[in-house]
Symmetry: C2
């Protein structure tokens, strides 16, 4: 629990762009699962949905999560076990929405993140207010070259990109998740 609100994360592997701008299903990265789980656990997020329609990638997610939550990894590193227990496998965004809605707190608000500025962007302060309403919220992060425009435009809110003092904004998704969670839930 993050104290104030029912916030989940979703890491989307489809529909995202490849380097050429085609919509693809990206491969799951082992490091994404570890790093994002650890950030989630640090900031009180209990549900990290890993979203992929590819059956072989779903099997990979299950295998990695099982190794660290029930297998040899769990005995080797209990802190990692605690973190990777937040992983939830989902086949699509609709699957995520249905899972959250089935908890009986209503349909979740979808907030997408993207490195490109959008005219519909909301700021971190406004988004923080939305997180405080108590309604379930899913924050979506893309992989590869980013979430498809169609998915972005279909969400309820588009969070402003993360910027430092430079125009360079190519943070890894692993780092972007940590920064977003820290801005919302850091002490």
């Amino acid at each position: 629990m993050n104290g104030c609100c029912a916030v989940s994360l979703a890491l989307i592997h489809y529909p995202v762009y490849n380097k050429a701008g085609d919509v693809i299903a990206s491969a799951v990265s082992n490091l994404d699962l570890h790093d994002i789980s650890r950030a989630a656990k640090t900031y009180g997020i209990e549900d990290f949905f890993v979203v992929t329609p590819l059956v072989d990638q779903q099997a990979l997610v299950k295998r990695i999560a099982a190794h660290w939550t029930a297998g040899a990894g769990a005995r080797y590193n209990p802190d990692r076990k605690e973190a990777l227990q937040v992983i939830r496998l989902a086949t699509s965004l609709e699957d995520v929405v249905a899972t959250v809605e089935a908890r009986g707190e209503g349909r979740p608000i979808l907030v997408v993140t993207d490195a490109r500025p959008d005219e519909k962007n909301i700021g971190f302060n406004r988004c923080s207010e939305i997180l405080q309403t108590g309604r379930p919220v899913v924050i979506l992060f893309g992989t590869a070259w980013g979430l498809s425009r169609e998915l972005i435009q279909s969400a309820d809110y588009i969070l402003e990109p993360i910027f430092g003092p430079t125009p360079y904004n190519h943070l890894p998704v692993r780092s972007a998740v940590a920064v977003v969670l820290d801005r919302f839930f850091g002490r």
Copy 2:
């Protein structure tokens, strides 16, 4: 340049602890180099020292950096080229200090980060003031199970750990760097 100050990062592979609490030299992780370079570039840091006394690991750092800054990777992904250009190889912390001092702005202030609270911790606000003085500062991050106590206690300042609303604080160093830089330099 980060606008206000001459801040560098150093990722320390020796002296750090292994799981058993022995002081070791850890292996360099390819992902650490990529993710920390990208965070550095985002937040305006131009010098990211990768510190290892191991000759084979130094060769690995050089090979990775060269691939992305001058080799096939540079042509494949110019954004990545720009990021990995911040990597500086160093053999020891003393080497980092000497390199920064040779620039003629004085001996750098050393700020260490650590996941364990310490009675000498300074907060992010106090540290931010130190960054604004214009003196060169190197922020040190550990690998493996963390920086040796001796190194931590020898630094000028020990930054407070990153916490969310939970007691869990096992962020990957890749994520910790991004969060620390965002707290200091995020817009």
